[in-house]
């Protein structure tokens, strides 16, 4: 019942944010802060890895959308890594598949970014 956030620098001026756990109304502020800090430091090309996320709700989606909006103002982008069908379904039914790049592996998400 918690979230872990880990940020890694990747080649090509990119950053990977590894999330693991459950993203809900209680834990999403922590995710928001981590992504916010990263963007404040000038990181506008992000891969957010959701492979270890077991659950995401509307507040979690809101944090991802908020992050995407901020990096776009700087010509940046956010790609998501997600193969969990339950989580992908949430992006499907909300139409968010159309605004995020969603990839089955970190490799493809990174390639699509740069």
């Amino acid at each position: 019942m918690d979230i872990k956030v880990h940020v890694r620098e990747a080649p090509g001026d990119c950053y990977v944010v590894d999330l693991s756990g459950e993203i809900d109304v209680y834990t999403s502020p922590k995710v928001k802060d981590a992504i916010g800090e990263l963007i404040d430091r000038g990181a506008y090309h992000l891969v957010i890895n959701l492979e270890k996320v077991r659950y995401i709700d509307s507040t979690g989606l809101g944090v991802l959308i908020g992050g995407l909006k901020r990096v776009r103002e700087h010509g940046g982008s956010v790609n998501l890594v997600c193969s969990n069908p339950q989580i992908k379904k949430i992006f499907d039914i909300t139409g968010l598949v159309k605004i995020f790049g969603i990839f089955d592996s970190e490799e493809t998400a990174m390639k699509a970014l740069v």
Binding site: D24, Y26, L61, I65, K69
Partner: protein, 146 residues
């Protein structure tokens, strides 16, 4: 407990009441999933129910400062799970009117209510200005169109 619930003796009722704060939503998810599991829902349907009930609680926590607790009532029927999320708040939900999602807003309004409506088979809001808001949701077992 609401009178309509008590009139049907065949249904088993589970009630959970937690403080209206973010840290308790995980417990509501856990308990609701355990109740849904007793109806032999698929794992996917159980995830839908978990998310819908959590969105309902999240809306209460985020928009309603008057209520001090959230009460979730689960009725286990033969072919459906009936959920009621009650808060004692006096704020009238905009949920009935404001259901469009607008990604251009800094805030994504209506995502929670949109998910609830998409994931559950029946959704109704009962607003009692004095007593608070009741959100009723029904999830049916596949093959039981209701």
């Amino acid at each position: 407990m609401n009178p309509a619930v008590e009139r049907e003796p065949a249904r088993e009722v589970v009630e959970l009441r937690v403080p209206s704060t973010a840290e308790w939503v995980a417990l509501i998810r856990l308990a609701t999933a355990a109740v849904a599991n007793r109806l032999k829902f698929s794992i996917e349907d159980i995830e839908d129910v978990k998310l819908a009930v959590a969105e309902a609680c999240t809306a209460v926590i985020q928009h309603e400062s008057h209520g001090e607790f959230i009460e979730v009532t689960c009725e286990v029927g033969a072919d459906a799970l009936h959920l009621r999320v009650h808060d004692a708040g006096r704020h009238v939900p905009r949920a009935e009117t404001d259901r469009t999602m607008d990604y251009d807003e800094a805030r994504v309004a209506g995502l929670g209510v949109f998910l609830i409506r998409t994931l559950m088979d029946e959704v109704t809001y009962d607003v009692h200005p004095e007593l608070g808001t009741d959100l009723r949701m029904v999830k049916r077992l596949p093959g039981h169109p209701g």
